[in-house]
C-alpha cells in the first residue's frame, strides 16, 4: 500500500503514527532519565486533557472537578492492590470502570443543569471527593494516603538457558512507563478520532452548538451527554491507575482543584474540541513549570494571567477549536467511486 493511500484510507491511523512515532525513538536517542520521566508525566497529562476534552471540548460540559475522577481511578487501583493484591493490568480497566460509574452517577442529576451551574456542581464534587479521601482514614489512609502500591508486571519470554517465562516488574526507571503511557495515548487518540468522525461525534458537537435544536432534531441529549461524561471519566480513571502505579503512593492533595483547572487550561489552550490540541496544551503546560523552575513562586500568578489573556485574545486556543476537517471531497469521491 502506498503512503498516500494509507493516508486517505486510514487518516487517523496515519496521523497518530506520524505524530507519535518520534516519541518512540526518544528514549533510545536521549538517555536522560529526567527527560523521560518528565515526558511520562506529560503523557499522563495528555491522557487527562484528551479525556476532559470529550466532555468540555466536544460536548460543552464544563467539568471543574476532573481531578476527582483521576483520583478515583488512582485510589481504586491502589485499594484493589493493597487489599487483594490485584495486579496492575486487571486494576487498570477496573479503575477506568469505577471512574466511569461515578461519572454517570454524578452526571445523571447534574447534566440537566445549566452550563455554569454544572461547572460549580462538578467543582463541589471534586472537593467532596478530595476531602472524603482525606478524612476517611481507615479506608483511604487519610492525608498520608496509600503507600507501597505495586508496579505493573509482565511475563516475558526468556530464551537463554532454555525457553521459559520470567516475571519482570516495572521499576523506578521511567522508560517502561513512558512506553506504556505512549501506547495509551496512541490508542486513546485513535479511538477518539474514530468517535469524532461518526454520528456520535457529530451529535456531541450539535449539543454543544445548540442543545435545544439538537434535541428537536432527534438527538436524545441527556443520554448522549451522559455517554460523553462517562467516557471522559473512564479515561481519567485509566490515567489514575497508571499514575498510582508509577508513583506507588497516592495522597489526596495530589488531586485538588488546581489540578482540575490545570487540565482545563490545557484543553482550552490547545483548542477546545481539538484532539491534538489537547495533547499540545498538555505538552506546553506540562513542561513549562519545569522549564521555568526559577519562577516557581510565580507559577500560579502566571497561570492565572495566561488564562485571562487566552480567553480575551485567543479563546479558540492554539490550534483552533474545531474538529478534524473532514476531507469530504475525498469521501465524496470515494462514495461515487464505490457506487459506480
Amino acid at each position: 500500500m502506498s503512503l498516500s493511500r494509507i493516508k486517505s484510507k486510514h487518516p487517523f491511523f496515519f496521523q497518530v503514527v506520524l505524530f507519535l512515532f518520534p516519541f518512540v525513538l526518544l528514549p533510545i536517542l536521549d538517555k536522560n532519565i529526567y527527560h523521560i520521566d518528565l515526558l511520562t508525566s506529560v503523557g499522563i497529562y495528555v491522557l487527562l486533557a484528551m479525556g476532559l476534552n470529550v466532555a468540555v471540548g466536544f460536548t460543552g460540559l464544563l467539568n471543574l472537578g476532573y481531578a476527582a475522577f483521576f483520583a478515583l481511578g488512582a485510589y481504586t487501583y491502589a485499594l484493589l492492590n493493597l487489599h487483594w493484591g490485584c495486579p496492575f493490568w486487571i486494576g487498570l480497566p477496573i479503575a477506568g470502570a469505577v471512574s466511569m460509574v461515578f461519572g454517570v452517577v454524578i452526571g445523571l442529576p447534574s447534566i440537566r443543569v445549566r452550563g455554569d451551574y454544572l461547572a460549580i456542581t462538578t467543582l463541589g464534587f471534586g472537593e467532596i471527593v478530595r476531602i472524603s479521601f482525606n478524612n476517611l482514614d481507615e479506608w483511604t489512609g487519610g492525608p498520608n494516603g496509600i503507600l507501597g502500591i505495586d508496579r505493573p508486571q509482565l511475563w516475558l519470554p526468556v530464551f537463554k538457558g532454555g525457553f521459559h517465562w520470567k516475571l519482570w516488574s516495572f521499576s523506578v526507571n521511567p522508560t517502561p512507563y513512558f512506553y506504556l503511557v505512549l501506547a495509551l495515548v496512541a490508542v486513546t487518540a485513535y479511538l477518539l478520532f474514530r468517535m469524532s468522525d461518526s454520528k456520535m461525534g457529530r451529535a456531541l458537537v450539535a449539543i454543544r452548538e445548540d442543545e435545544l435544536a439538537a434535541s428537536c432534531m432527534g438527538i436524545p441529549t441527556l443520554k448522549i451527554k451522559l455517554i460523553a461524561f462517562g467516557l471522559s471519566s473512564f479515561i481519567a480513571g485509566i490515567a489514575g491507575a497508571v499514575f498510582a502505579s508509577k508513583q506507588t503512593i497516592v495522597t489526596p492533595d495530589s488531586f485538588d482543584f488546581v489540578l482540575s483547572v490545570l487540565i482545563l487550561a490545557m484543553v482550552v489552550l490547545g483548542g477546545m474540541g481539538n484532539i491534538w490540541g489537547s495533547a499540545l496544551g498538555a505538552l506546553v503546560l506540562g513542561t513549562l513549570p519545569e522549564l521555568l523552575r526559577g519562577f516557581a513562586a510565580y507559577r500560579m500568578l502566571l497561570f492565572g494571567l495566561l488564562m485571562i489573556l487566552m480567553m480575551i485574545f485567543r479563546p479558540q486556543g492554539i490550534l483552533g477549536g474545531q474538529l478534524i476537517r473532514r476531507e469530504l471531497a475525498s469521501r465524496q469521491k470515494e462514495a461515487d467511486h464505490e457506487s459506480a
Binding site: G124, I128, L264, L306, I308, I312
Partner: protein, 302 residues
C-alpha cells in the same frame, strides 16, 4: 443543652452575616451579567489583608489610637481598595468578554482568582497571618451564653450595610437603574441608562461589601490566609444560589441561613466534614432547586 444550641446559632449567625455580605456581590453581578464571578472570593480575601495592613500601620505609627478609629479606618480603607480592585477586574478581565459565551468568562474569572491568590501570597507570604486584637475582648454573658463585642460589631456593620444596600437599590436612581439592567439590559439602554457604568457600579458595591466581610472575618477568627477566599467564596456562592441567584434579599437570607446550618453542623456533627456539607448543599440546590428560595426560574428563549 439548650444553651449550647443557642450559642451555636449565635456563632452561626455571626459568620452568616459575613457570608451574606459576600453573597450579595455574587448575586448582584450574576443579576446584571449572568457571570459567576469566581474572583469575588479573592476580593473578600484582599479586603481582609487590606484591613490587616491598616492595623499594622496603626500599630507602628499610631500605637495609642483608640480602637474605634482603627476600626473605621480599616473598614474604609478595605472598601476603597476593593472598590478599585473590583472596578479594575471588571474593566480588564470581564468587559472585553461581554459578548462571549459564558464559559469563556467563567474560565477568565478562575484565572483572575488564581492571579489574585498568588499575588497576595507573594506579597504577604505563605503562612497564616495573625490578626492583631483591635477590638477589646468585651463579652456579655447570659448564663452559659456569651456574646462578644466583635460579634456585636459584625452584626451591626453587616446589618447596617445590608439595610443601606436595600435602601440604595429601592430608592436611588442608580439603584433603580441596576434593577432595570438586571431585568432587561437592552431596554435599559434604550431608556438612556449607561449599562457599562451600572455594571461597574455593581462590581464596586459588591466588592466593598465583600471587603468589609473580609475585614470582619479576619478580626473574628484572628488569622487569615491567602486561601480563605476560595472556600468562603464557594460557600457564599452556595448561599446566593440557595436564596435565589439575582435576588438581593435572597442572598442575605441565604448567607445567614448557611452560617447557622454550618455552625450547627460543626457543633453537632464534626468540623472536618462541614465543608463537605456545604458542598453537598450546593450541589443539591443547583440540581434540584436552581431558582433557590426567593428566585425566579430563568426560562430558555426559543
Amino acid at each position: 443543652m439548650l444553651e449550647l444550641f443557642i450559642q451555636q446559632i449565635l456563632n452561626g449567625l455571626t459568620i452568616g452575616m459575613v457570608y451574606a455580605l459576600i453573597a450579595l456581590g455574587y448575586t448582584m453581578v450574576y443579576g446584571v451579567i449572568q457571570l459567576i464571578n469566581f474572583a469575588h472570593g479573592e476580593v473578600f480575601m484582599v479586603g481582609a489583608y487590606l484591613a490587616l495592613t491598616v492595623m499594622w500601620i496603626f500599630a507602628s505609627l499610631f500605637p495609642g489610637a483608640p480602637f474605634w478609629l482603627v476600626l473605621i479606618s480599616l473598614l474604609l480603607f478595605s472598601m476603597l481598595g476593593s472598590a478599585v480592585l473590583g472596578a479594575a477586574i471588571e474593566k480588564i478581565a470581564y468587559r472585553p468578554l461581554r459578548g462571549s459565551p459564558k464559559l469563556t468568562a467563567l474560565i477568565t474569572s478562575i484565572g483572575v482568582s488564581f492571579f489574585l491568590q498568588n499575588a497576595v501570597m507573594l506579597i504577604y507570604g505563605l503562612k497564616e497571618q495573625s490578626v492583631p486584637e483591635i477590638i477589646p475582648d468585651v463579652r456579655w454573658h447570659l448564663g452559659d451564653l456569651s456574646f462578644s463585642l466583635i460579634q456585636l460589631i459584625i452584626f451591626a456593620t453587616s446589618l447596617g450595610l445590608m439595610f443601606f444596600l436595600s435602601w440604595f437599590i429601592k430608592h436611588t436612581r442608580t439603584g433603580k437603574a441596576m434593577r432595570a439592567c438586571a431585568q432587561d439590559p437592552e431596554a435599559a439602554q434604550l431608556v438612556g441608562i449607561s449599562v457599562n457604568q451600572i455594571i461597574r457600579t455593581t462590581f464596586v458595591l459588591g466588592s466593598m461589601l465583600a471587603a468589609v466581610g473580609g475585614a470582619l472575618f479576619g478580626m473574628y477568627y484572628g488569622s487569615i490566609n491567602f486561601h480563605d477566599g476560595y472556600l468562603a467564596g464557594l460557600k457564599a456562592f452556595t448561599a446566593a444560589v440557595f436564596g435565589g441567584i439575582g435576588s438581593v434579599p435572597g442572598a442575605m437570607i441565604g448567607g445567614i441561613l448557611l452560617g447557622v446550618f454550618e455552625g450547627l453542623g460543626a457543633g453537632y456533627i464534626s468540623s472536618e466534614w462541614k465543608d463537605v456539607f456545604a458542598f453537598l448543599l450546593l450541589g443539591a440546590v443547583l440540581i434540584f432547586k436552581p431558582s433557590g428560595i426567593l428566585g425566579e426560574p430563568l426560562p430558555d428563549k426559543v
